[in-house]
């Protein structure tokens, strides 16, 4: 079996998986409440909202691009939805669809700037971050929108309704996360589109020469990322009963960190949804765990930075070893 073990450890997900297990063991050893039902329930609720964005970002980064406007869209989309609904313009479900459509349009604009005007996605989405955040602040005068009228709405139940298994409370958002994780893993690894996504990120000119519609693939992924960011923002706003124009600030970097820790290459061409799911849990458990074991929460970034550096070194070493056939 040594060759099986060797193959397993050569996978980009192996390092992050071991780290995740270590974190769970260490945090639980120091504070057994880490694995309590209440803590698992709370952690899962928040984890999957950022996780939804990270899943879409994995595909986008595999295609060689990334999106810094995700956090701003996480804030803007629910603000749009609640503003339209509270003003009596339309029903909540219609407001949801319109807000998601606006997010999709922003994704199209991002993709068009990157593919047609050949501007790096860093600059395009940095600009869009400011446009989207500025719009959210402008239309709300900087104040949170009231969302308490969500109770009893079928769309609210569909997005964040919860079920209880004894003390364990699970939100519908967890279902959405699992659904999209399975779907996008399948798309990336088992479909023709997945092959095109990897080729677009690995060698765009070679892919284009083979007839792969590189620009359309990238625009589609910008739309997917924007829609998932808006979707996650709406879920968060209903769960917390608040649509704050500032919510999601800084999420873009945390999401990119989740994706690269999981083993997706920042330079494109290689991506893994399984790795991203592990990366999501590493970052969220770190945030939760270091507080539970008594480390000041302000020290969180030190640990995250160290993990990113460590994981990058590991992935780089694995890459070199695989390339040399060792």
């Amino acid at each position: 079996m040594p060759s099986l073990a060797r193959r397993l450890f050569a996978r980009p997900e192996a390092g992050p998986a071991i780290l995740l297990l270590l974190l769970i063991v260490v945090f639980t050893a120091i504070n057994p409440a880490f694995l309590s039902i209440l803590n698992i329930s709370n952690t899962l609720a928040f984890t999957v909202e950022l996780g939804l964005i990270a899943l879409a970002m994995t595909l986008l980064m595999t295609s060689g691009e990334f999106d810094l406007s995700v956090g701003a869209l996480f804030g803007l989309t629910p603000v749009l939805m609640w503003t339209m609904f509270n003003a009596g313009l339309m029903s909540l479900s219609m407001a949801f669809l319109v807000a998601i459509a606006v997010a999709a349009l922003i994704g199209v604009v991002n993709g068009w700037f990157v593919t047609a005007l050949k501007i790096p996605s860093f600059l395009v989405t940095l600009g869009m971050l400011l446009v989207a955040r500025g719009t959210a602040l402008y239309i709300t005068d900087g104040f949170p929108q009231r969302t308490w009228s969500a109770e009893g709405q079928w769309i609210a139940e569909l997005l964040v309704g919860s079920v209880r298994f004894g003390d364990l409370r699970l939100y519908m958002s967890l279902f959405w996360f699992v659904f999209f994780a399975i779907l996008l893993h399948y798309v990336l690894t088992g479909t023709r589109v997945g092959n095109w996504i990897q080729a677009a990120g690995g060698n765009a000119s070679a892919a284009a020469a083979r007839g792969v519609p590189v620009a359309q693939v990238k625009i589609g992924l910008f739309v997917l990322t924007a829609v998932m960011s808006g979707f996650a923002g709406v879920i968060s706003s209903i769960r917390t009963s608040a649509a704050n124009p500032n919510s999601g600030t800084g999420y873009e970097l945390e999401v990119i960190a989740m994706v690269v820790i999981g083993g997706t290459a920042l330079s494109g061409g290689r991506g893994t949804i399984i790795g991203t799911v592990i990366g999501i849990f590493i970052l969220r458990l770190m945030r939760n765990g270091i507080v539970m074991i008594g480390v000041p929460g302000l020290a969180y970034n030190i640990f995250i930075g160290a993990i990113i550096l460590g994981m990058m070194a590991l992935h780089s070493w694995l890459d070199r070893r695989n390339q040399s056939g060792g």
Partner: protein
């Protein structure tokens, strides 16, 4: 004499005010391997770029199997059965051999909506193609291109061109940076491609490599064709060198 496959007629190419090609004519017949030689700046790369759709000609016509065609992009060239294999740029190193072979033309299975790759079929065909092109080492078709040697990468690119029935395979410096054994391997891949009915244009700086594999040599100098009927065996390497450098007058 074999059927004419490609005919380039009076191809002229300007880069700004610089004339890179002047009234160049080139013919390749079916099943023929043509060596294209010339010093740096002779125009052979530009000529190949015109034929492979990388740059448009300023004037001139291209005929494939007797019919005039417009080649404005690499995709146009591929659609017309012309495949160009560069040293490194034709493959995606992160993808497996099988995924590279079928890139853009992946076979699917199951309901169309599922868009599901037929990976077992892709890997089966890829393994058979690697054997056909002459790779004797047992390399799984799931191996990423990045793990292959330079010669093996050339073999994958040639295998892809053969599988999708490219009539003409253009090899641009395929033996650059390769060791002796790997070079012999690539030359054998070219012979195998010819034996299965494909035509090739073979560009290399090393005349000895060209002599081992081509049926006919075309020499370019300063943007024009100065010889197009040199047959290895009837001319020596030294004679060809003199034609390339212009010392034959």
């Amino acid at each position: 004499m074999a059927e004419e496959l490609v005919r380039m007629v009076n191809i002229t190419k300007f880069y700004g005010r610089v004339k890179a090609l002047e009234n160049v004519n080139l013919t390749v017949r079916r099943g023929e391997v043509v060596g294209l030689l010339g010093d740096n700046g002779a125009g052979k790369s530009t000529l190949i770029k015109v034929l492979s759709g990388a740059v448009p000609a300023t004037s001139g016509d291209i005929f494939i199997k007797g019919a005039r065609v417009d080649i404005r992009s690499t995709s146009d060239a591929i659609a017309n059965g012309i495949e160009t294999i560069y040293q490194d740029s034709a493959l995606v190193t992160q993808l497996s051999i099988a995924r590279n072979l079928f890139l853009g033309r992946e076979p699917l299975r199951g309901p169309g909506l599922m868009n599901r790759l037929d990976l077992p079929e892709m890997e089966r065909v890829a393994s058979a193609l690697l054997r056909e092109v002459g790779i004797t080492k047992n390399i799984p078709a799931s191996t990423p291109i990045g793990a292959l040697s330079g010669g093996e990468r050339q073999a994958v690119a040639i295998a892809r061109a053969m599988h999708f029935d490219s009539d003409l395979i253009i090899l641009d410096e395929p033996t650059n940076n390769l060791g002796v054994a790997e070079t012999q391997g690539v030359l054998q891949f070219v012979r195998n491609a010819r034996d299965s009915g494909h035509s090739c244009i073979f560009i290399a700086h090393n005349i000895h490599h060209v002599f081992q594999v081509v049926d006919r040599i075309v020499v370019m100098r300063r943007g024009t064709v100065v010889a197009d009927d040199i047959v290895p065996g009837q001319s020596s390497v030294a004679e060809v060198e003199r034609v390339i450098t212009g010392m034959d007058h």
